[in-house]
Symmetry: D3
Subunit: 318 residues, 6 copies
Amino acid sequence: MTDNNFNQPLGGNQMPRFGGPGTMFRLPSSDISNDLDIGILGVPLDIGASNRSGTRFGPRSVRNESVLVRPYGMYTKAAPFDSFQIADIGDAPINTFNLADSIRIIEEHYDTVMASNIKPVTVGGDHTISLPILRALHKKHGMMALVHVDAHADINDSMFGEKECHGTIFRRAIEEGLVDPKKMIQIGQRATGYSAGDFQWAVDRGVRVVQAEECWLKSLAPLMEEVREIIGGDTPTYLTFDIDGIDPAFAPGTGTPEPAGLTSPQALEIIRGMWGTNLIGADLVEVSPPYDTSGNTSLLAANLIFEMLCSFPGCIRR
Amino acid sequence: MTDNNFNQPLGGNQMPRFGGPGTMFRLPSSDISNDLDIGILGVPLDIGASNRSGTRFGPRSVRNESVLVRPYGMYTKAAPFDSFQIADIGDAPINTFNLADSIRIIEEHYDTVMASNIKPVTVGGDHTISLPILRALHKKHGMMALVHVDAHADINDSMFGEKECHGTIFRRAIEEGLVDPKKMIQIGQRATGYSAGDFQWAVDRGVRVVQAEECWLKSLAPLMEEVREIIGGDTPTYLTFDIDGIDPAFAPGTGTPEPAGLTSPQALEIIRGMWGTNLIGADLVEVSPPYDTSGNTSLLAANLIFEMLCSFPGCIRR
Amino acid sequence: MTDNNFNQPLGGNQMPRFGGPGTMFRLPSSDISNDLDIGILGVPLDIGASNRSGTRFGPRSVRNESVLVRPYGMYTKAAPFDSFQIADIGDAPINTFNLADSIRIIEEHYDTVMASNIKPVTVGGDHTISLPILRALHKKHGMMALVHVDAHADINDSMFGEKECHGTIFRRAIEEGLVDPKKMIQIGQRATGYSAGDFQWAVDRGVRVVQAEECWLKSLAPLMEEVREIIGGDTPTYLTFDIDGIDPAFAPGTGTPEPAGLTSPQALEIIRGMWGTNLIGADLVEVSPPYDTSGNTSLLAANLIFEMLCSFPGCIRR
Amino acid sequence: MTDNNFNQPLGGNQMPRFGGPGTMFRLPSSDISNDLDIGILGVPLDIGASNRSGTRFGPRSVRNESVLVRPYGMYTKAAPFDSFQIADIGDAPINTFNLADSIRIIEEHYDTVMASNIKPVTVGGDHTISLPILRALHKKHGMMALVHVDAHADINDSMFGEKECHGTIFRRAIEEGLVDPKKMIQIGQRATGYSAGDFQWAVDRGVRVVQAEECWLKSLAPLMEEVREIIGGDTPTYLTFDIDGIDPAFAPGTGTPEPAGLTSPQALEIIRGMWGTNLIGADLVEVSPPYDTSGNTSLLAANLIFEMLCSFPGCIRR
Amino acid sequence: MTDNNFNQPLGGNQMPRFGGPGTMFRLPSSDISNDLDIGILGVPLDIGASNRSGTRFGPRSVRNESVLVRPYGMYTKAAPFDSFQIADIGDAPINTFNLADSIRIIEEHYDTVMASNIKPVTVGGDHTISLPILRALHKKHGMMALVHVDAHADINDSMFGEKECHGTIFRRAIEEGLVDPKKMIQIGQRATGYSAGDFQWAVDRGVRVVQAEECWLKSLAPLMEEVREIIGGDTPTYLTFDIDGIDPAFAPGTGTPEPAGLTSPQALEIIRGMWGTNLIGADLVEVSPPYDTSGNTSLLAANLIFEMLCSFPGCIRR
Amino acid sequence: MTDNNFNQPLGGNQMPRFGGPGTMFRLPSSDISNDLDIGILGVPLDIGASNRSGTRFGPRSVRNESVLVRPYGMYTKAAPFDSFQIADIGDAPINTFNLADSIRIIEEHYDTVMASNIKPVTVGGDHTISLPILRALHKKHGMMALVHVDAHADINDSMFGEKECHGTIFRRAIEEGLVDPKKMIQIGQRATGYSAGDFQWAVDRGVRVVQAEECWLKSLAPLMEEVREIIGGDTPTYLTFDIDGIDPAFAPGTGTPEPAGLTSPQALEIIRGMWGTNLIGADLVEVSPPYDTSGNTSLLAANLIFEMLCSFPGCIRR
């Protein structure tokens, strides 16, 4: 069915879905190498999280549930495995006893990924990991556009005196010039904050903040049209998707759930709406398997990662 | 309250809901007999499933949770237990070590049911069971109309070389002339497939395929109006409802969940929208209790089965 | 950040969210005292429930999960802890072996609360507790308006021969003149009943009954405008919120779940829509932790209680 | 295989274990009738419990898991279904809103059972139920011997002012002369009490109290020899088995678990050691399914009930 | 630390335990090849099981939990990874819709394994898989000795008319001459049977059957001395370990649990007692992850598999 | 019942066990003060753990389950609340983003505790916390004796390059002279290690290491006699109890479970055997609530903490 030699997920008619390798989509595993277009990798860090832990098991669990994902999008007709050479390139070897050291290790790991011209698609881990990833990508791409789906703005100046943890990273990313706040869109923020103006710091810098209330009962296709206009088709663009942007009904397995969030159709609309941007990397973070009693949050995450693959420039539609 | 001698569910004021017999709705159990209008029965088969197992416990678990269902629909005013003689007629004795033999057993079991002029309402079990049920019903009713709610089209030609399992049955049903593809409507298909054209085989034969994306954020009442027009009021019509048609937020306990599906209000709209067709049988399949940690998927299934009863021709509205 | 000496929740930067006292929102605990504007208290009763038990653990569990709630509403800009002196005033010491005696104890406990001019915000426990609470509040406020969110009408005349349990309380409240049925609105009723006319007794007395079907796919802001008009801005108004009013997808951990209920955004719209009424008390009932495997139902409940605080007259918006 | 017409459990080769009727051991259900030697019945009461609730689901859950029990004891060679006419005679219709009324209903229900000369084997429900059962049996048998397995002595004078609940029943049974304290043995008591002398009231009346510490690392066969000597072979003897007598490692699903209890082999030794007494009834109480996440506590309970059947006088050994 | 070039498990100081490849013990994965001494592989079959399903996920789950196992036995001082070239050789691609076909596939797969002179250590899957494994090993080794740990004898002639499923395999193995019944020891059988003589068929053929009751409260070291004497040091010996041989307290996650089984220390004694036999292969079957809510059954299984590695002839003790 | 004014746990007849304050044993909470003999406190740290996380919720969960513990030991007759002034003194405010900083905070917090002459009984949190606790206690008591129950020796030199985390602390404690290795006893070590000599470093320094295998099937009372002899009655002695010393059957909810550990009766024998030493503090660590699906590990932990209170010098026996 494929018209090239790209890696294909191991199919359900070759090995039952509950067997086979423990890689994402049962793709081949690979070293970091120039032969790849896209590399899917895990960062099993959870010591940057402020409430429930457990996202350290996110990469393993999302891989486990990804066995159900098949190679073609039935609505978009997207065919990522016919379009790109994709592999599972393993996990970043974080130091689980030391957050600062882990941030350093992650950045170095992604420096290597970038040196091989691989577009990284990452599964976390807590949201802290996006900061060192953005730092590494910035070295190659310069200032990036950012689409940030999340229940929280993650723009605290510090938490418990620490400057780098899962609630501060996008203030750091803006301060360091990694992302362009005028090409940054935050979607799904809601619930309660330390002050009534918690989101203002970003707004003041030009970020488009789309609170969850603005999304209720609406298709987000028009919003994504606006997003693509804000960003433009050439700007290197990163997508960071915190699973807690989605309502806990759809994604119960996460560490800081907030009520009344996005629906899973809206999540698909957002990711599918990235098609047309110059997507150069993406992550899916904050899946916490101990709180995901059915496995369905990990399964949703695996599907979102598939949809991310479909939104990279050059993905064929059949 | 009833104006006849029909079986009534054991009421919550006679026996607390957590006690009493383990039958559906705490109805009397009955042999297969001509005295019944509708028979509710279980088919505890799960060896036709390709990913997670566990639907073998579906009939027991749906019966357990059905204790909360009361005899009148509060919105539709439907009164099925005032309208029909209904009983729990037990389970089909499948051979759990042999799928082909189980398919044979199920067909024979439903031959007996049909010989007694009972309209069967079945709780599965994986979706494989609908094929032998349709075969048995076809002997009486001829080619039927089919409303099929599901995340998947179930029209693969074969899986792992097998022609009859939970992913191939509706290709078989069309090939064998059991159902009329021009009077067949599939609702809720989505996510990923083995090829971008997985749904085309059915479309090519005249099936109306309503992907989940077409349903997002909409009432399905207009769709059901269209469905009733397609089918016509006289055609013997079967309803097969795979619980995975519904989004895993609402129905987490199933074996092959797919994100961004129907909502439970939409599920009710579909089943209520069958009122006006010549419904001659229905099934509710793919509830997998080991993945239903709260029991609420089974509870939803029990309510859907109640709504099915309300949509049979002749059901009184009060 | 606060401009007064009101109690503040222990912040996440002083003590990690998983530590600190086991009080609601990690507020100080307090005796019942005239110094408080609002008292949050628990009533750990579940022997008035007819199906699944477990709500006895509701107060503890909702307090446990409330640690994630921060002091400001990010959409409403409401600042309840800058507006009122609020404390956790502990639990009512119910007699778990005797429902009638518990009803008596609860009423006496709330007599004491009312004697201190505390506006009570209660976390249950099963819905039976609202009856003695209303009795105590009636002594101070006279006949009250009532907004009642619930999957059920709770207006049975008796259950298993008992006049006072979780399914009969609002018939009692109307009969006793505690609430004015013409200023009573029920929202979210649905599914099945003992008779097709189960809701009629209330309708006949002037209650506005908004079945769940009327709410599907709609913003409830217009409904709440109607509610405020029905009630008027001066009438002492009580809000009683049964978590099962919300769909089990969003609130799985409850004892008598019914499919196709309200969404959590709609729940927020209802409580936020109480702003503008003369709210004098509120309760959140029927959270059953043993069926809440992720803890997210308790977390939702904690957020709803926060939103209740924001809707009391005088709550500052920043 | 059987040499009579006694009811037989539905076999695993006739219907797979996950199908078939929801009765204990998949036996036929029966009305209370003189045709039975032994009746197995449920009492789904849990409002007499002081800590976790949920035992109301004990009868249903133990029946569900009992499907795995086969008709012959592989070590004892006991053949109860070749020895007695046994059926599942359903549940006692307790009033879940009123403990005192439930106690009355249970006694009346067992009066009926005794009137039919059925030996009752009961699955609870919380331990309160043993008191009305003993009252009914006392009318026929007079003062009985009692073997009582439990983590607790259940001899409080009152709890929260109530004289009859799950922690007071054996004080009542002794005071009322239902059981002979000199022929009463309590096994498995442990952990903590309201006073250091909590067990003394029973000891003072002649009860043999075997604390769990005396059982650690020992076969209980010698103890049971002593028990049989104390009781004598003719005295009508009742066995009441609280599942919390067993360590929570083996029986996690219960409401007031205490560490360092009996092992499941010791539980079997106790029940098998009843062989040789004049056993006239037995109960198994305090299984709380919401805390039994694997179902294995209910499965253990079902096996213990099977072993009880094997210890009735006249049970054939093959 | 190792004195050769054998594969080593990825260490916890190189990659945190929750990261890294999804292989057993985080060993390298390998094709079936002559370079290996021992190959660990999975057979994800569960359609041969008669009660609860779910063992299809056994291989994946045991691998997941195996990350905690380190390379040296602290009591035995055994060092398997210093002694043998060991790799994870993946899963046998069973046909989940057809038991007979799966049995054929498994045998062929093990024919290939044997052709490469790999000693197989298998993780199941239900117990059916041991039959085709033994068939393949028999071609190389001839009639083997067998140590069989299990709650059940698995010597039914047929189940539901089928000759080959998880309850019949050892009757087949004896009938076909795969194992020598005089060098076959069954340990841990218990609970209930279809007839009181269920174990007799094996005893009659010379099998040493050690019921669980004989093991209670005893070290099994003397038994294993007897086992080694029965077998002799040269006879090719296979160890098949059904996790349900162990008590459900220690191993809750299994499909047909029976009370009062072996303890986990006894399980270690058995496997360690295999040291001194000519062990040529082993399997660990019947772990059912959906019923293993803490993951600890899989973790125990992973440790048992480690201990199996330590008992192969030639394993160095340090 | 008490003969003094010491704090008493809130009794089950004053407030049902599922209500009341969220403190340990429902004792009063207190500031750190000279009025106390013993202070129970939590350290909700889990970022020092190498495998599963979640022990951050240990203090909250153990307090929740402690409601079932009553004030008197039924076997020992110990009466700690008649003997000492005991209170819940809250949690140490660790920095969850920084392990080194947390270790510093904990030490300072315990410096304050020691300044008030409070004997600390701590509930963790991961085992890292024992190191700063010992450092603080050492300032007052000098070199201490140590009884250390654990599946692991926790004497690695470093892990992932870090010198202070949950696997290295007792090497640090010996190196720093906090504990006297000749008066140090480790009990329960087992399973697998990084080298066959992992335990030797401690043995070489005089530590008495009692591997789990030495404990199987034995009363540990004789061992504890030996322990008391080794330590002597005057030496200030600390007890550190890692819940994973106990077998996962009894204590499933922990982060690095190892099979074939101590039983809960043995755990009681160890703690009760501390009676007679000069116990000056104790901790109970590594309870991980997300893996404790029944809550029973936390309940066991609460009982062990009660038993610790009973073993402090001066505890009255009644």
